[in-house]
């Protein structure tokens, strides 16, 4: 290898890595709002119980209202693609809404999967009125975590 070859190879490689780093910085900026949005959406509804489920295992759940109705936050479930946490709204003993406080978002693929799986899981859970629903194929990890968190929230609501 000549000196010219070595120097040009080093420069080219450095340039490519720098370009990758720059592109990565932009991705991080795009991704951040995605995560922030799911958290933000719950911020209003969760009525202040922001500390619930910060543990990494399903140590339990917390109620933010009385047993008759209100919102219940499930445990935050850790997966290799990020954490998953859902919150349910209960009115007169029935689940009227499921919100994802946080979904797997470790990388673009997880965001993709979460965005696809969450609406499906939500509608199935509302229809079944339980966490006893099919996992979404291709999103097994997200589904399992979602349903675990959902079960914890349902348990907390004593439904």
């Amino acid at each position: 290898m000549t000196v010219r070859g070595a120097v040009s190879a080093a420069l080219a490689s450095a340039g490519i890595l720098l370009a990758g780093w720059q592109a990565g910085a932009q991705v991080a900026e795009v991704q951040a709002p995605v995560a922030a949005m799911s958290v933000g959406a719950t911020g209003g509804a969760a009525a202040g119980d922001g500390t619930s489920g910060t543990g990494s295992t399903d140590s339990g759940s917390s109620e933010s209202s009385t047993a008759a109705g209100g919102t219940y936050t499930g445990a935050s479930v850790q997966t290799r693609f990020g954490s998953v946490q859902v919150q349910i709204t209960v009115k007169a003993g029935a689940i009227t809404d499921v919100k994802a406080l946080h979904l797997t978002d470790d990388d673009r693929k997880s965001v993709q999967i979460s965005n696809r799986a969450a609406p499906l899981l939500r509608s199935e859970a509302l229809a079944a009125q339980s966490a006893n629903v099919q996992t979404i194929s291709g999103a097994t990890v997200t589904s399992d975590a979602y349903l675990t968190s959902l079960q914890a929230a349902i348990d907390a609501a004593h439904l």
Binding site: M1, A12, S13, A19, G20, G24, A28, R80, K109
Partner: protein, 491 residues
Amino acid sequence: MNSQLMPAPPAHSRSGGPEVRTYPAIPAGPHNFASQHRRRRLRSDALTVTAWSSVAASLALWLADGGARGIDSAASAFTAMGIVAGLAGMDLVLLMLLLAARIPLIDRTIGHDRALEFHGKLGKPSLYLLLAHGLLIAVGYGMAEGLDPVSESVALWVQVPDMWLAFISMALFLAVVITSLVAVRRRFPYEFWYGVHLLTYAAVATSIPHQFSVGAVFAEGTWQRWYWMAICVATGTALLFFRVLQPVLATYRHRLTVSRIQTVAPGVVNIEMSGRQLDRLTGTGGRFFVWRFLAPGLWWHPHPFSLSAEPLAHGLQGEGGLRITVRNLGRGSAQLARLRPGTKVAVEGPYGLFGTAARTRDKVVMIGAGIGITPLRALLESTPFSPGNATVLLRGHSEQELYLSVEILEICRNRGARLFHLTGPRVDGDPHTWLPEEAVRRGHTLAAYAPDISESDVYVCGPAGWARNVVADARTAGVRAEQIHHERFDW
């Protein structure tokens, strides 16, 4: 010792001996070997840049995906390192495949043997990277889920689609690299080693599904996915094209058949072949082809042999003949001496840089020993030089071992090259000489035979240890690495 100095007669004197062929007209006029060499060095640098850039690009894919920003815990750090190791490892594997794909651009730039040398050098690094990839991912994922790496691996194997293939791929890579290590390679026959090496293709193939289905960097809809697919497909296509399609086409195009077997010396035969469109092969004298003689028990055994004469095309469609000279070294080459005329021949090539394409200077020195003399015979016939600008040194135990020396003498006379026969025993107990004992005693050195060697291209072909000593002497005499062209028969 018998060393003779040929005077330099005019280039085109006819001598008309019985074995003498008509030599192709070598284009007169100045050959710009310096600029040929500059271009080759430019290509070589471009290849270096491409190779390094591809490794950098594999990391940039991950960086561009926001990879580095996602590290916020020990678990994600392990996972990140695992991903990076996997990307770089796979990129090296693709580079290895390309180096072994016999791509003409690579062959004409660094030569087949150097390409394989780099290929071999990448073996261990890529294996280590792939092993690290598996381990780090198991640790990183495991930490995120509160599992030990073994349970995590089992979970990955059982639950995640395509991961079982990835585990098999890892086992295959291990098998390939371990059997390629020289120490182990010695204990098995070449064919066994070759067969295991073919497993590389299975190892690569089984590793690909999980890269696209589990690898988050290559999620659907990302440009990274397209880039990775493109380089995988390009590598596969290059392999298929240059290692399968091209040889089939060349075999069909040239329709080579054995025309004559002629004994040159005990255990050494000329194999002459006739074929078509041989005009497309002129200028390949000294380069080598991989031959398969399509006879029972022989066809599956490929052998590299150099041309020992420049291809001769006399017919309108390029009909003509070419020739190799083979020494009986092992099972396969012993059978070759008994080939029947009319046997069809499959051919791959030409390969290697032992030809005019490697020239960097106007003067040339050729040094050969034993069977290594034969490609020099072809090169001497075809490579351009003015009378007086070429020196040929032939080394053998006895005159009889200076294969093709009659023909070489004839060409030297015709073209005005100086020829020395260096025969006799070597110096006892001195592993550093390549000259016969008598020459050493008289104080002859390489520079004494070829005074202008430092401004010549030096072509060396012969047994490995001997060639090493020649090259070392040439370097001492002021020859730069770029001027030395060394063909090895024993890779």
